[in-house]
């Protein structure tokens, strides 16, 4: 029984932690792309990388102030959306999926390589110390919470983690509010009509390409924000932290919660991280598996979960089956 409670407590701790915030933001971005507009973007991690690199490089290497760095992260994500979207948004959904995943991998390989190490730190990335102040310094200095450990019942935080968690969940709430108000506006109705029938939207005189581009930029900026939260929490930026799997996990979270719903991505990533933690800790703490094998097992289970969800409940926990009649 004690073991069971310990597993539950530490899993809840993980589920509301910074990782869940990162995935909630990234999946909200994907929700705008895939859930509302029908764009099958499999390169969300590329937007996260651009946001993170924009922040880390501008602050650590070029020594701009922190808030300008945040702006640089957002602009980097916008830039990627423009460059990636201009040629690929006209492609059919499956071609879009392949080209976005390829673009994200190009970004990762390039920023990992030694040839750009002067800016990206190459394979070692940018730890917070490089270039004097470091990009997390202002962030940590803004932390109003006195150093120490805090516990609320089961939940335990260090002051840095608590700071990320508070700001992060406020951010997630603001994003939900933004998406909610956008999707009940005329703009939201147009992008959803594009998802349902692109040609019909075009026949009604809507500039489909422009709407798709706006959706790509919006979702991409949310992805970039997720990347920034990730590097601020980690305290360092390195390109190999942005593998294609991140996109796939974000999709799993989105589909689990329910695409084309406001809270779907948030609930999805909470559930995703809770399930990941529960399975791993149950398998290792009860001694079913050696401690090293937990990681791969839980990810295999994530894959299985994605398959089962897609087969039996493609609309997810919160979704409405009539809303999700997607087919490219």
């Amino acid at each position: 029984m004690d073991v069971f409670l310990a597993i539950l407590a530490s899993s809840v701790n993980t589920a509301i932690g910074p990782s869940a915030i990162v995935y909630a933001l990234a999946a909200s971005g994907l929700n705008v792309h895939y859930g509302y507009t029908g764009l099958l973007n499999f390169g969300q991690v590329g937007f996260m990388l651009m946001g993170a690199a924009g922040l880390a490089i501008s602050v650590s290497i070029f020594e701009v102030p922190f808030f300008v760095g945040l702006l640089c992260g957002v602009l980097a994500a916008v830039l990627l959306a423009l460059v990636l979207g201009a040629p690929t948004l006209r492609l059919r959904a499956d071609y879009l999926a392949i080209s976005t995943i390829a673009a994200a991998e190009i970004l990762r390989f390039t920023s990992r390589s030694n040839t750009l190490a002067e800016f990206t730190g190459g394979p070692f990335g940018i730890p917070s110390q490089v270039g004097g102040a470091g990009f997390t310094q202002t962030w940590n200095a803004m932390n109003p919470i006195p150093p120490g450990r805090y516990s609320f019942g089961w939940l335990q935080f260090t002051h840095t983690r608590l700071w990320v968690v508070i700001v992060g969940w406020i951010l997630v709430a603001l994003v939900c509010l933004l998406i909610w108000s956008l999707m009940r506006s005329p703009w939201g109705r147009v992008v959803r009509s594009i998802r349902e029938d692109e040609d019909a939207a075009r026949a009604l005189g809507k500039n489909v390409f422009a709407y798709k581009m706006q959706a790509l930029i919006l979702g991409g900026v949310l992805g970039g924000t997720a990347g920034m939260v990730l590097v601020l929490f980690q305290g360092s930026f390195f390109a190999d932290g942005f593998r294609p799997e991140l996109t796939f996990y974000a999709y799993t979270a989105l589909i689990m919660g329910g695409a084309a719903t406001i809270f779907g991505p948030v609930l999805g990533s909470l559930t995703f991280w809770f399930l990941l933690a529960v399975t791993e800790r149950t398998l290792t703490l009860t001694g079913i598996l050696p401690s090293g094998a937990g990681g791969a097992t839980r990810l295999a289970l994530v894959g299985l979960l994605l398959v089962i969800l897609m087969v039996f409940r493609p609309q997810g926990i919160l979704g409405n089956k009539r809303e999700m009649v997607l087919d490219g």
Binding site: A102, V130, A300, V302, G328
Partner: protein, 457 residues
């Protein structure tokens, strides 16, 4: 009229977009050229890995610069003075190289430093390869022991360009046919069912991993010689493919599941297969137990191992066999017919369900075979399939998605692009060029080089 104007507008937009993309992607490569020259300075980056892992915050202190001075003939150079200064010119320390030529100089804190080798303290007859690089501006991170290299003597003899061209062409061809073999299934499955199978790369890995366990000596595996092990692994792979089609895709097609939904399902399958492979095989990359060490023989300017030559020949033979089968046999013709127009094929009496099953069996078997060849040339690892997957997509789209010949042709081009790019650009970026080709093709000729024009936008 209106349509014409719209088309013109679209073309113009596309042109602008291509230019923008090219500009964005080329600027970094132009920056790369000068940076490449300074790259040599760090040789032993592996050393620093552990220091990094130790944790950045607790482990303050212990930063230093170090290195070993040796001549071009590997003779140590003792008694050379090296100074370390901050960027403001404040001297941090001075050190003399010892009898082994090695030196190390601790620094008080992480940051940027200038490390200078006092050229006048060098013994007679020893000179820096590049006298201007006696001073290196570099940085050290928390807990890092940074190794610096000062090269002496003449630069090592450079292989002539023509020889590198020939050997890289050979490598590219070899890599290309391996991708081609693995990609045939991906392309045929798309052609017949419209499914973009993201788990195809993991089927490649699975074939290689099965062969590894059959090949591994008793205790770990079955200890079968690699040829036998490979043959059995290909059969098992093919059976797995058949089972996946029967057990998963066939019921889903009957339920008329949407293609996008099926695409997301392949992502789930990919995660399952990859992590099961990792659980079973482990995270390290390991070679097969046969044909690992071989003497290369020399054909003109080309040095090849018998293994690589046989891999290339075997792959070419299999490609020709598959092409002959598609061209001549009844089932091959049926495959092409279903791929071309499913409804028409069905109405002319072809059993489409059976053809698709055969394609899954054939495609997965070939994917497993491609995995074994790739494992033979490089190493077996759980991530190898995913690495190949994007290259397979590149090859398949380059040739024309859905056609078998297009997949073969496109994959060989991708293999050549990958390896030949190393003649001009950094090896680290070789995969980038292949993916770059993929995006360019999607922009200018989305139906592929051999594909028939149709609307895919």
């Amino acid at each position: 009229m209106v349509v014409g104007a719209r088309r013109g507008c679209v073309l113009a937009l596309r042109r602008i977009a291509v230019t923008a993309l090219l500009a964005v992607l080329l600027v970094p490569t132009l920056l790369v050229a000068p940076v490449l020259a300074t790259d040599v300075e760090v040789v032993a980056q592996e050393d620093t890995d552990e220091a990094d892992d130790a944790g950045d915050e607790e482990d303050a202190g212990g930063e230093e610069f170090r290195g070993t001075l040796v001549t071009g003939d590997d003779e140590p150079i003792p008694g050379v003075i090296i100074t370390v200064e901050t960027l403001d010119g404040e001297v941090v320390g001075q050190v003399e190289s010892d009898e082994d030529g090695s030196w190390s100089q601790p620094v008080p804190e992480p940051g940027d430093y200038v490390v200078t080798l006092q050229a006048d303290t060098l013994p007679e007859g020893v000179e820096l390869r590049d006298p201007e690089r006696a001073s290196l501006e570099t940085n050290v991170r928390t807990g890092q022991e940074r190794t610096l290299l000062f090269p002496f003597g003449e630069a090592a003899e450079v292989t002539p360009f023509s020889e590198r061209l020939i050997s890289q062409t050979f490598n590219g061809l070899k890599f290309g046919v391996i991708i081609a073999i693995a990609a045939i299934g991906l392309s045929l499955i798309f052609g017949t069912t419209g499914l973009v199978n993201f788990s195809h790369g993991e089927l490649v890995t699975t074939g290689a991993v099965i062969a590894w366990f059959l090949n591994a000596p008793a205790g770990v595996g079955a200890g079968i010689q690699l040829i036998g092990a490979g043959a059995i692994a290909v059969v098992i792979s093919a059976a797995i493919g058949g089972a996946i089609d029967r057990g998963l895709w066939q019921p889903l097609r009957k339920r008329r599941t949407g293609l996008i939904q099926m695409l997301v399902i392949t992502i789930g399958m990919m995660l399952v297969l990859r992590n099961v492979n990792q659980l079973v095989f482990g995270s390290s990359s390991r070679p097969y137990f046969d044909y690992t060490i071989q003497d290369a023989f020399v054909i003109g300017p080309l040095r090849v191992t018998p293994r690589d030559l046989i891999v290339l020949l075997l792959a070419l033979i299999v490609l020709v066999l598959v092409a002959t089968m598609l061209q001549r046999t009844r089932i091959g013709k049926a495959m092409r017919a279903v791929s071309d127009n499913r409804d028409l094929a069905e109405s002319s009496g072809i059993n489409v369900t059976r053809v698709i099953l055969v394609i899954w069996i054939l495609g997965t078997g070939l994917a497993g075979f491609g995995g074994i060849l790739n494992g033979l040339v490089e190493n077996v690892s759980f991530i190898m399939g995913f690495r190949l997957l994007l290259l397979m997509f590149a090859g398949v789209i380059l040739g024309g998605l859905g056609t078998a010949y297009g997949a073969m042709f496109g994959s060989i081009v991708v293999g050549l692009v990958t390896e030949l790019s190393t003649l001009f650009f950094s090896t680290e970026l070789k995969l980038v060029w292949a993916l770059f080709v993929l995006i360019i093709i999607l922009l200018v000729r989305p139906q592929g080089l051999l594909g028939r024009a149709e609307r895919i936008g």
